[in-house]
Amino acid sequence: MTLNQLNHMEYMDGMEAIKSNIMDQVLNNVADYDYRQYTDQDVKRALAKEQISIQDYAAILSPAALPYLEDMARKAMLETRKHFGNSVCIFTPLYIANYCENHCVYCGFNCKNKIRRGKLSNEELEVELKAIAATGLKEILILTGESRLQSGVAYIGEAIQMAAKYFSTIGIEIYPLNTEEYAYLHQCGADFVSVYQETYNTNKYEQVHLRGPKRIYPYRFNAQERALMGGMRGVAFGALLGLDDYRKDAYAAGLHAYYIQQKYPHAEISFSTPRLRPYINNAENNPNDVHEKQLLQVMLAYRLFMPYAGITISTREKSVFRDNVIGMAATKMSAGVSVGVGGHMEEEKGDEQFEISDPRSVYEVHQMILNRGLQPVYTDYIRV
């Protein structure tokens, strides 16, 4: 089959290429990562240390570390409390559009799927923002699919400006942009940027991103750096765990964040841990499967490697899992979530990207956090 596909490692026209060696560093590290070589002793040694090195991080992500999950959790809990105290930040995502030009084989929004597409008009957006603000939230994450035609930078910028009237903290989870575009959205009121590499394995990445600008691996990889160059305050990293070898992907995401922090020491770093859920009756069969135990291992490894980084726990996870990881590894959670386009007040204008497992309201999540002896935090950022 000749698809006349683009070379996934070459930039398309209009994509800004920055001078950076972080991608090469990460890819070299991952190429050398053989998690089967680590032993009990490596894990024990790593866990006895105050500051975990890259080698130690490799060890605690390995299968040899699974029997030590409890020890990792205890150490992670201490680190989380040391750096974040009792605080747990709460926020909600708002999908403003779901048009998409990418064909990513794993995604519900992909351009081949016959789903309801839509985007919020200014009037609809205002209603949604008001409804969310009325729950008391001060932090919002604005999301779109990747369509410069339907949801271009100007449209997103306008949405951010409207959101800035109601929210003190605005993050964006949209397609990767050039530095100047990030600078523009920063000027509109956004300060935090999430871009997930999905998989760091370039071959797998090519296989699952068949068409669209997302196919271009290095442009996506360098998005966080361009965002910081554009003046953004914080950047989030993550791999879609289970899409490929999740240990290698988590290792790569950790190193990606680590090298960015070294180069941009002021940047606020955070992780998300979305996963492809294993199919029922398929347990233990596929080494890529990420069950809750494996997911927790990844979260704990992130925490121990970068104890100062934020970790967000997704609504894709069950409430019992979410409730137990806050204060231990996670520092931020969403509440009152709708993953269709709009849906907080107006009827949804487009279908959902995925199914959520935790439908609790802001009030319910707030109460749960208090009941666990932790402190719900609505705002942790001041824009000056």
Binding site: R81, G85, Q261, E268, L370, Q375, Y378, Y381, I382, V384
Partner: protein, 255 residues
């Protein structure tokens, strides 16, 4: 005996300043009461004034607020946050905190100095959080600071007086209240700092992460008072453990 802590012309009985950033808000009151704190810090970025979980709803009346500029990456941002705090009726005190390292959260002394100078001129009672460096401390005095707040160890580390010798130099040389901020993990460490002649202790994580926060707050209060009393009493002579020469070294002057 009158032994008051005086900062910017304001008198305080207590030498325990409570940092609030890591607490569950519902226990702040108990911690303030048990620790006898008269000053409580307030991170403006966290405050959510008028909204859910607003810290001002939890701080008892009569407490002096010490808004900090956490979140500022440079002097300009710190100045803007301080002005915002004043507009929001959080008073005239400000703890200048300028950090642009998300990993260690170490203060940037140079930017801190610049912000201190601007804010002092605007009439703020400026308490800069700094890495203990004598030259910087002297510049902060000249810039109009009302106290100097050197760190004992990285924020949240509970490691104690890692910078002890340098804090001692500030105590000896700087004619402003020296308030140890960050790193104090145990009451015994707070006590030791106070014995050295430090004027007050700011504490947050060590209490917030204790099993019984109210009790730990009380322990800090007692430790800080004990250390202060010991300092005022003067160390016992056994601590000056230099051997006495059998014949006076200066005896030759009499010959």
């Amino acid at each position: 005996m009158s032994d008051k802590l005086i900062i910017g012309g304001h008198e305080f009985q207590s030498r325990f300043i409570l940092g609030s950033g890591k607490f569950s808000l519902e226990i702040v009151k108990a911690v303030v009461e048990n620790g006898g704190a008269e000053i409580v810090t307030l991170a403006l970025r966290r405050a959510n004034l008028g909204g859910e979980e607003n810290i001002l709803d939890y701080i008892p009346k009569g407490i002096t607020l010490l808004p900090n500029t956490s979140g500022a990456r440079n002097a300009e941002e710190a100045v803007r946050i301080a002005r915002l705090a004043r507009e929001m009726k959080c008073g005239n005190f400000v703890k200048v905190e300028v950090i642009h390292d998300s990993k260690y959260l170490l203060p940037d002394n140079y930017e801190t100095m610049k912000a201190t100078e601007i804010l002092a001129k605007e009439g703020f009672i400026v308490m800069p959080y700094m890495y203990p460096d004598l030259n910087v401390a002297r510049s902060l005095v000249n810039a109009g600071a009302s106290a100097v707040m050197p760190l004992a160890a990285p924020i949240g580390s509970n490691k104690g007086l890692c910078t002890k010798d340098f804090i001692q130099i500030l105590v000896d040389e700087i004619d402003l209240p020296i308030i140890v901020d960050a790193g104090i993990g145990r009451p015994s460490q707070a006590c030791e700092a106070m014995e050295m002649g430090v004027d007050a202790i700011m504490c947050n994580t060590a209490i917030a992460t204790a099993n019984n926060v109210a009790l730990m707050s009380k322990a800090f209060k007692q430790a800080i008072e004990a250390g202060r009393t010991a300092y005022l009493a003067g160390p016992g002579r056994v601590l000056n453990n230099k051997a006495e020469a059998s014949s006076p070294l200066t005896g030759f002057l009499e010959d």
